[in-house]
Symmetry: C2
Subunit: 216 residues, 2 copies
DNA sequence: GAATGTGAAGGTTTTCACAGCA
DNA sequence: TGCTGTGAAAACCTTCACATTC
């Protein structure tokens, strides 16, 4: 057991979960890898391979039981429970994330907010009082926070992450456009929104229709 | 020429650009693949490979000229120019993106906003008057929009994308948690913020320290 | 001496194709 | 018959290692 699961495979599990939620709402009992593949623009073989690394969930000749598979994936992804999340930096992006319903839907409960701006400290965002970042270590521990979202300017992000790590948090989602250093036992992911726009511009510049005629 | 550049390679170019901007600010003249690699937690070989698919930018024994390479990458990524961007859906996420400075820094100018909410239409966000989504096709064409950002609820996203495509836009960045259909000549990228949180929870659940002892 | 540029090797991920089961 | 589960093959991506250049 316990082969390494690839990053892309984990990401695809999120897609499967989302697709299955939709199929469930439309009262599908079962769904085939082919249908799922079509829905998410993937190949049936890939879906079967992905799922097979966690077990045999389907029935030959029939497909996968929608409700059951959805629950199974939720459990694999760890979104069948509630996660205690804190968010640091109540700027543009930060405020938007506090109200972002998709997070709650998947069990990510933002229950603590931090900022260093005196005007924001003590204010109420969606029922949460903003704490002073000075007390972050203590408060993260007290509230048993499991995941921290960083949405502060790049210049201060590393210092904050150091505090967060020292407070014992093992999972961090970083929106600051900078590469942060964390110890090996801490999982860090970056959300870099410019990156996808740059991907678009790269493709607009390099692969516009006309080019396709040429070869080699 | 014209080998296919991989998605991850394009994404890494964005990282190189960011790192080079920093090195430039610190007045580095040249930088080696080793230094860049350390900065972005990659391998030197990978950086050299990535860059070599676009040309020979370095000097053996010396490294890469920071300023020049930065400009070169900007040109490859197409961020050495200004892009005309429209944003649809002035909700939580939408409003945050309008004020997101990283976009402007990389040449992505949000110059049109659309919404279907009568209370928002006509209002002013960062100097832009929100247009009625009814007129989206005409206004996208009139303003020569090249990239559209979708930040509307999942239920209405496909309809809007259909309009956007019909207006001739070839690049779309989608924040709605749904898989959108577009023709082959339109580039669509998805920004799925829950996905990264789910990646974190997967790892918290499946790979906590203790497990590492076991094998096979 | 130092660091690039790059074929070749090695590793990982995806796809194929089919045996096996409902 | 229809669709899963899975080894094997193919495709893709990363790392190695070294000849080459400054």
């Amino acid at each position: 057991m316990k082969k390494k699961i690839s990053d892309s495979s984990i990401h695809r599990l999120s897609l499967y979960f989302r697709a299955l939620s939709l199929f469930e709402m439309e009262n599908y009992e079962t769904v085939s890898s082919k249908e799922l593949a079509k829905h998410e623009k993937l190949t049936p073989a890939q879906i079967r391979k992905d799922l097979s690394s966690f077990g045999s969930f389907g029935t030959r000749g029939l497909g996968y039981p929608v409700h059951e598979l959805k629950n199974k994936i939720a459990s694999i992804l760890g979104i069948d429970r509630s996660w205690r999340v804190a968010l640091v930096g109540i700027g543009n992006i930060g405020s938007a994330l506090v109200s972002y319903k998709e997070f709650m839907k998947h069990g990510f409960q933002i229950i603590k907010l931090f900022d260093n701006d005196q005007r924001k400290i003590g204010s109420n965002h969606k029922g949460i009082i903003v704490s002073d970042i000075k007390n972050i270590q203590q408060e993260l521990k007290e509230s048993n926070i499991q995941i921290v979202i960083i949405s502060v300017p790049a210049t201060v992000a590393q210092n904050i992450v150091d505090d967060v790590v020292e407070a014992g948090v093992k999972a961090i989602l970083n929106f600051a456009p900078i590469n942060l250093r964390v110890p090996d036992d801490v999982i860090l992911r970056n959300e870099n929104m410019s990156m996808e726009l740059e991907y678009l511009s790269f493709n607009l510049v390099n692969y516009s229709q006309e080019d396709d005629i040429e070869e080699v």
